[in-house]
């Protein structure tokens, strides 16, 4: 595996750090600014839901497929929603061929946890017949271009995919599941809209939405998922350490930034329209 840290020279590292100290970033953003989000829902005809989402030059195309299976014995009336990520070498010379590596596992896990613990996907609505048949949703993210902060781009990509979903509606006929002829949609499945927000840290400077050079030189990152009022997931990665006060400040900031972003993106506009 290539050591991604090496592709950034020491000079570049210093330059980025010094700029951040002056609260300046290479692309002109302030410390607490996001790059622009661009969203195309329903990009994939073969999928039951999909989204092509860009955050600056980072681009992730996500699709949803479903399967019908038996529920887990300890959750007999709940469906399942799994999230996977592929960091394909097409997206960056930094990505290797082969089975999912640590970075893709992290992307899938952090996006999944942000969604799972926020009452976002109403898994009980994915139940067709308790103990017999539930929907299993596969939300698969493909990174098409990598320019830093996959997590926040992936979070919006996965959420938009779920909102855009349109699944054939099944009913239990006593023996088997059959199609009612109708559909149910993201509106029926998705409840809360949790957003995951990632910060980088270099020395004692913290900043929102690291782009690729920033990600390569930073000591660590922290991703915080939240709904309107609550923090629902936190993941620190890398070798940076954070003081207790910094953590408190970032949790507070995440609620604030999340509220604004939720309003700006207005993801419900992407729900499937069926009469």
């Amino acid at each position: 595996m290539m050591d991604v840290k090496r592709v950034i020279s020491t000079i570049e590292r210093k330059y980025i750090k010094n700029n951040l100290k002056k609260e300046e970033r290479l692309d002109g953003r302030g410390l607490w600014d996001y790059r622009e989000f661009k969203i195309t829902p329903n990009f994939v005809a073969a999928a039951e839901g999909s989204a092509d989402v860009s955050l600056g030059e980072t681009r992730i195309i996500t699709g949803l497929k479903y399967d019908i299976g038996t529920p887990f014995p300890d959750l007999p009336d709940e469906g399942v929603c799994t999230i996977m990520a592929e960091l394909i070498p097409l997206a960056s010379p930094l990505f290797e061929r082969g089975p999912p590596d640590e970075q893709s596992i992290e992307l899938a896990r952090v996006v999944d946890r942000g969604i799972r613990h926020a009452d976002c996907v109403q898994t009980k609505k994915l139940c067709i017949e308790a103990e017999k048949a539930v929907y299993i949703l596969f939300v698969d993210m493909y990174v098409i271009n990598y320019e830093g902060n996959l997590i926040d781009c992936g979070g919006v990509s996965a959420l938009t995919t779920l909102i855009s979903a349109q699944l054939p509606e099944g009913k239990w006929n006593g023996e088997d599941v059959e199609w009612t002829g109708g559909y149910f949609t993201g509106k029926d499945i998705v409840n809360e809209l949790p957003l995951v927000i990632t910060y980088g840290k270099i020395d004692d400077i913290i900043f929102l939405d690291p782009d690729l050079p920033e990600e390569l030189v930073c000591d660590g990152r922290i991703s915080i998922s939240s709904t309107e009022e609550k923090i629902t997931s936190i993941q620190k990665s890398g070798v940076a350490t954070f003081s207790f006060d910094e953590i408190k400040m970032l949790c507070s900031k995440s609620l604030e930034i999340g509220k604004k972003l939720r309003k700006d993106l207005n993801l419900w506009q992407y729900k499937a329209n069926i009469e």
């Binding site: 999928a47 699709g63 271009n145």
Partner: protein, 256 residues
């Protein structure tokens, strides 16, 4: 219990008015849209929408070969990695690349290599990553076509572009550019690629049943249809250079 709606084949592949299910005539292509330079991190890239197919191709190289023992002292190597997204097909594909994807990768590499001057790049590799995001029949041909465009976008010297499409037989009739449903429910499928520098065939597969005269006809149809696709490829590249030139002139204008 797997999926609620089944991937069933229609009984007939022609409508009563003689048109194909998607309204096309026998020798009519599906809508095709191409773009180049779509992925910033690649040395060259291209994107194609062909019917419902949506495919990205990225070219990297000439670069070092990993693992090193694959490199050749007397020429460069061409490696193709054709991959389908799990959600690009009716039944979710398993994430790990399967035999089919590896086989198609090899076929596309064999089919593109004749237009390259690999002997000029000893010890190095050109790597083409192809990602099928949405699939609807003929992905190997669309992938070949878009990969050839990505090679050109990377500025790699080529003897010519390569164009591929699938022709075949459905309900007993010879047609060009099989759609997904025609590919599955039809009787014969013949993907073919043409290297324009010598007007020869660099990819040829066939599965079905045809006598010699049918084969003869369908090959002729294929060549005619390929020419139309080739024009789209050339125009896509031209537009890129026009747009670059416009930018340059704009800048010059700005300088004045």
């Amino acid at each position: 219990m797997v999926l609620l709606i089944k991937d069933e084949y229609p009984e007939k592949l022609f409508q009563e008015n003689g048109k194909r299910l998607d309204g096309r005539d026998k020798k009519e292509l599906r809508p095709i849209k191409m773009e180049v330079d779509v992925l910033k991190n690649a040395d060259g890239s291209a994107y194609i929408e062909w019917g419902n197919n949506k495919i990205f191709a990225a070219v990297f190289g000439p670069r070092e070969v990993h693992p090193h023992h694959l490199s050749k002292p007397d020429k460069g190597i061409l490696r193709v990695f054709y991959r389908m997204a799990t959600y690009s097909v009716f039944d979710r594909k398993r994430p790990a690349p399967g035999r089919r994807e590896k086989e198609i990768s090899m076929i596309i590499a064999d089919c593109l290599e004749p237009v390259l001057f690999l002997e000029l790049y000893p010890g190095t590799a050109f790597e083409i990553f192809i990602q099928v995001i949405d699939a609807d029949g003929g992905t190997r041909c669309a992938s070949t076509t878009v990969a050839s465009l990505a090679l050109a976008d990377a500025g790699i010297p080529m003897k010519s572009l390569v164009t591929a499409l699938a022709v075949g037989k459905i309900d007993g009739e010879l047609v060009v550019d099989l759609s997904g449903i025609e590919d599955k429910a039809g009787e014969a499928d013949l993907p073919i690629a043409i290297t324009w520098f010598n007007d020869e065939i660099s990819l040829l597969q066939f599965d079905g049943e045809m006598d010699l005269s049918e084969l003869d006809t369908v090959l002729k149809d294929a060549k005619e249809a390929a020419k139309k696709i080739y024009e789209i490829q050339v125009n896509t590249l031209k537009n890129k250079y026009i747009s670059i030139q416009n930018n340059i002139e704009k800048e010059k204008g700005g300088e004045d």
